[in-house]
Amino acid sequence: MKKFARKALLFATGLLLLLFFTNNFGLIDIQKTAIVTAIGIDAAEEGGFDVTAQIAVPDASGADTASNVTVRGTETVGEAIAELNRKTGWFPTLVHCSLILLGKDTAQENVFRALDYFLRSEYVEDSCLVALCETTAAETLGAGSPIGDLASAAIAKVLSAEAQKTGLVSVTNLRDFAKGYFSEGESGFLPQLSALPQAKSEGGSGGQSGDSGNSSSAGGSGSGKSGGSSDVFDASRTALFVRGQLTALLETEETLAYNLAVSGTDMAFGDVTVYEGDREVIYHLKIDIGKKSQKLQIKGALPVLEFSIRAQAQVVDANKAGTRTEIAATAIVPDHVLRAAEERFEKELRAAADKAHATGCDLFALKQKLHRFHPKEYEALQENLLQDVRITCDIRFETMR
């Protein structure tokens, strides 16, 4: 009897562990599940926020159909999320939300008025991507996606880690943006996202619509299956923020230079213009960053930011018809092209730094570096650090062997 009781107890324990570790007892039919894949936040006319949720509903074939639901005029983002639940019956736990889009108008004030919600909530991953839209977030999420129904999936591809590796986009997730905001420099950056209309396929417009109180559905995307306009997304420009407010915009070339010098970009493509004789020739180079470092030094009470970059380049193309020998030796970059590439890189990097520092954006986290590596000088230098810092660049390009 005792043996039986022990076995029964063991069995019960195993069962309870199963219940503890899984939620299989609360099985939900996947086809009746709505998953919030992206949240768009716009500034409402009367203050407050218009919040758009892109909701994916998996169907029997495994594909996702999307609909965008907007809640207008709420005072907080949390209120909008709660209202989404109340009006639609879906409880968006946001575990699968991998993208937060901010409308351009939200950046006129501190964007952390809206982003705070995602940092407070344990049910939202701070690994989700964040971007600023050129127009409104609702419009961007309503754009046609070239890769299916979900615009958020297409945007996430543009903002992927692979895009960051090629230096075309300064990808930022919520954690990194918040780290910058709460750091000594109170600065950060976000990629600026633009939807560029590309093609119009046959068939009706996609998406679903429906009103519920002050909720309304924007046109969902749907070029993939149902036809309609198809957009591509560009995020090659970078918006700079100080204390959560938009202050400046880095252009594509400046973004590339910043990424090559500072962030996790190791390989990129860029154009270099040189004069050969009296003719302007544009070389398209593949750039492979070998070593890069940035160091803040205090030299005679003056802060100096030193960039040291070693890169290898290869000619990918040029806007002139090459001779047979030139095409055969395409990997070899002429010396004057390498020097021109170094100059171009330095020029764009300095332009990015000047633009950021002029608006008070600590793009290179100088105050953080000063605090961490020169704590004794921090109090004295931090006030005018961005104005006083001198930038030196040691950039060398070589032919890729």
């Binding site: 219940l19 609360g26 049910y123 690994s127 590596f373």
Partner: protein
């Protein structure tokens, strides 16, 4: 046969004890100490390690349990009163880990918003664990170590690419006063010494045992410090917002993006170790109640489990308040039972040399006595403990 094995104690110190410090503790440390979070943790680890060393010296000189020694020196009433107080302390010490685990399990392992009922089965498991012998508890440590070693290493490796260790600079930026306050307020996470106090006499002390146990503790301490360093290196200024640190540090690994959150597999593995760590104070609470009142172990286990279930339900909506109360108001209690009582026991309950020379207990007499002698003549206290375990 119902005694713990030294190996199991080593595994407890190396794998189970550190895991209980990986949920809310890192965020609490960084809230007060910022980038200096390693130092208050180090002070506490050194203090706990020192008390453990003294307890090991006590165990070396006696084969009796703590309560057995207390009965001999201070009498039955004092021993029972101390056992009751220790039982209350273990019940108190179990509250914060349970509340931490409740939040962790419900927020990390579920995609929807589950009710408390999803977590309630843990208390049935605690009842089961409480009703088992210490030896059974020890066996769970054998399971815990390989799970911990594998899962912990993988989670740390996944987090490393996102770690910027310069975030830990400048050293001592917050000042010693703040570090001392942080160390005191984090005492609820340092309850290893009173547990070891209850293990004294319940494991067979062998030559070189202290070295092994201390090495295991050092490994556990190194694991805790490495985790804290990586945690702050990943999150820097927003680390105090990361309440479920164990599940947070590795989620940014880009290699996992196409696969989804595969790191959750290892997080779930460590959740199993967390469950084992929650069983330890509960089982020792039952042990102390047995010493205080006698009676069936299952009854004590039921009382403790129901009490903890009630407290957890009561504090379910007020985790922050409970945590603040336990760490900022109750730290003297944790200091007294966590360090004070084990220290006093280690210093004043040591067997006198005169006793040892008469071959009662201790390292030297054990060498003199044959194994047969030792098994033939157990001390009354040891015998009582074994009967209680049976």
């Amino acid at each position: 046969m119902h005694k713990l094995n030294v190996r199991q104690i080593c595994f407890w110190l190396a794998a189970v004890l550190p895991v209980s410090r990986l949920i809310v503790y890192p965020a609490t440390l960084s809230f007060r100490a910022g980038n200096d979070l390693l130092w208050p943790a180090l002070w506490n680890l050194i203090a706990e390690g020192t008390v453990l060393l003294l307890l090991l010296l006590l165990a070396r000189r006696t084969r009796r349990t703590f309560f057995g020694l207390l009965r001999e020196r201070a009498g039955e009433a004092a021993a029972r009163m101390t056992a009751l107080l220790l039982a209350l302390f273990f019940a108190l010490a179990a509250v914060l880990p349970l509340l931490e685990q409740r939040g962790f399990v419900l927020q990390i392992l579920y995609e929807n918003v589950p009710s408390f009922l999803s977590f309630a089965p843990l208390f049935a498991l605690l009842l089961f664990a409480g009703a088992q012998s210490l030896r059974a508890l020890g066996r769970t440590m054998d399971i815990a170590l390989p799970i911990f070693a594998l899962c912990f290493m993988i989670l740390l490796l996944l987090a490393l690419p996102d770690a910027d260790f310069s975030a830990l600079l400048p050293v001592f930026g917050r000042g010693m006063g703040e570090q001392a306050r942080t160390a005191l307020f984090s005492l609820p996470w340092y309850t290893g010494a009173p547990c070891m106090l209850c293990f004294v006499g319940n494991f067979e002390y062998k030559e070189g045992c202290a070295k092994k146990v201390l090495l295991a503790y050092a490994i556990g301490a190194a694991a805790t410090l490495s985790f804290l360093a990586v945690f702050y290196a990943v999150f820097a200024d927003i680390s105090f917002l990361q309440h479920n640190a164990l599940a947070q540090i590795s989620k940014y690994a880009t290699a996992l993006t196409p696969l989804g959150r595969i790191d959750l597999l290892f997080v779930i593995g460590l959740t199993l170790v967390l469950v084992i760590s929650a069983c330890v104070p509960v089982r020792l609470c039952v042990h102390c109640l047995g010493e205080a009142f006698g009676g069936p172990r299952a009854l004590h286990a039921a009382i403790v489990s129901i009490l903890l279930l009630g407290v957890t339900v009561l504090l379910n909506p007020a985790f922050r308040e409970a945590q603040t109360f336990l760490s900022e108001r109750m730290w003297p209690v944790f200091a007294l039972f966590g360090y004070g009582l084990p220290l006093l026991a280690a210093l004043f309950l040591r067997e006198k040399k005169a006793h040892r020379s008469h071959g009662i207990e201790g390292k030297t007499p054990r060498k003199d006595l044959s194994a047969a002698d030792r098994t033939r003549a157990p001390s009354p206290e040891t015998g009582r403990t074994l009967r209680a375990e049976n």
